[in-house]
Amino acid sequence: MSFWVDPYRFLLEWLRNLLIGWGLPADWAQVVLFFVGAFALGTAALLLVVFLIWLERKVVGRIQDRLGPNRVGPWGIFQTIADIGKIFTKEFITPVGVDWLLYNLAPVLSVGAVLMLWAVIPLTMTLYGVNLNVAVLYIIAVGELGEMAVILAGWGSNNKYAVLAAFRAVAQLISYEVPLIVTLLLPVMFAGSMGLNDIVQAQSVWFIFLAPVTALIFFIVSIAEVGRAPFDLVEAESELVSGFNIEYSGLKFGFFFVADFLHAFTIALLFATLFLGGWRGPGAIQYPVLGFVYLMIKTSVVYFIVILLRASLPRFRIDQMMNLNWKLLTPLSMTMLVLTALLDKLLPSSPLFVRIVGMVVMNVLVLLILNQILKLVENRRPRPVVAPVVRPVARPPQISSVQNGSGTSS
């Protein structure tokens, strides 16, 4: 086995042989390898954040007609490293009356919850933390740990704005978990397995072509789960003075910051894995290294859309956010689950083309019907009068008499 075909396996075998050569029993060598692998994966993911923060600042800067970071290094690429140096030297400020345990546990837990997601994602055909056959359930379970970090940070800070943010966080995250779980069922159903590597291997057709509406719902809901704009009510600066992490400073704030950016990238990675075929691509099975390149290209596209959304959409109000979830996304995701399951049984599976076209047609039909229903609902919605119907505008006398008559009757 050559190094360039599959460097991960190559290094793994080399390290295992080295450890056994040093006289370590085989199962102890396995344990050591587990720890080394976890350490390497976690470190790689955290180092990636250094780049992600720079990228996001640069892209958002360009969207807002600014230059973004441009002083440290070429294109300001070392800006984040300078920021890390600054944040490391900052003082830890612990406010009076905080719950010491919760206050310090929350940042660690928030980063840990994101890193734990990386354990099950197959980066190439052979490179994954563990090929868990209940990986989809695992993703949901680990997501709940992230929720707990937000709750603990809000409660432990001894600050009313932080607690308010924590209440919002719970309402938002637990509500959006319902459509998240329902949409996750579809890839599981298509692949016939809950393991992520099996799901990737089953995608000879990317699942986004079989279930475009569900993919869209998953995308929206996962942004809400991460708490990124336009769903960033957890850390709304304007009404909660930065929300659950208000009392954190220095490196502890940095933990939340890193978790936020890494989480956004991780959901892009998950989307690429579940709906865009993961590491699949020409030659990815013979040369697993290529699979990593394909996965990163797909993830970058999704991540770029996440950044674009963040830069272009205003924040939801809390009632709008709840309405969107309970009145639109949850019923829609359940409808799509039932319809897709039925159609999947009805359509002949042998000509792949027929199956794809059938699914796409069904999805487009659902979208059209949904559009009509939304129009009806929108027309019936009572609109509060915030301004007089007739605006005071200077008009010529003969026309204004006609228009005033119609204006008062309405």
Binding site: P25, D27, L101, L105, L137, A141, E144, M148, M194
Partner: protein, 173 residues
């Protein structure tokens, strides 16, 4: 001692210590967190037994649902629920003595029982056959009736919760 045994011992120690801390912590919130740690320890034990389904369900149900519910109900109480008095009363040594005697008696009785020691004979089948579990839940010869009855119970609870919430809203109007 193999690597797995070492991890098992560490996990078991942490789980037991967390369980003790759950009942002895002064703050309600801390007790809830120690409970989370103890339940996580149990999940790790499941994972060590190569039963990742149970490990994940343990995290999902006990930590994701129940622990968050407990933490949330503690948060909704008006003050920090905190006990200032000593955690044991003056008869603690009697309780400890009784517990020790019961434990010794149980160990002595069980030590003479043959069923305590595994006789070989592992359970047939792959421990991780979720497909079999899923089929058993919807199989008429399996557990379809308990499964459906449980769903009905949950549905009734859901309807009841909605009803209570709606009635209060109507009363205010």
């Amino acid at each position: 001692m193999s690597g797995t045994q070492f991890i098992f011992l560490v996990t078991a120690g942490v789980t037991l210590a967390a369980a003790v801390m759950t009942v002895s912590a002064r703050k309600m919130m801390h007790a809830a967190l120690w409970l989370v740690l103890a339940l996580t320890g149990v999940a790790v034990l499941f994972a060590l037994l190569r039963s990742s389904f149970f490990a994940v369900v343990q995290v999902l149900v006990y930590i994701g649902a129940i622990a968050i519910l407990i933490i949330f109900s503690v948060m909704l109480t008006r003050r920090v629920v905190q006990e200032q008095r000593p955690r044991v009363n003056r008869l603690w040594w009697v309780a400890a003595l009784l517990a020790l005697m019961l434990f010794t008696g149980l160990v002595a009785t069980l030590a003479s029982w043959n069923g305590l020691y595994p006789t070989g004979q592992a359970v047939a089948g792959h421990p991780e056959d979720i497909g079999a579990l899923g089929l058993a839940l919807v199989d008429p010869a399996g557990f379809v009736i308990p499964f459906e009855v449980a769903s009905l119970l949950l549905l009734a609870a859901l309807v009841g919760a909605v009803f209570i919430a709606l009635e209060r809203k109507g009363g205010m109007q």
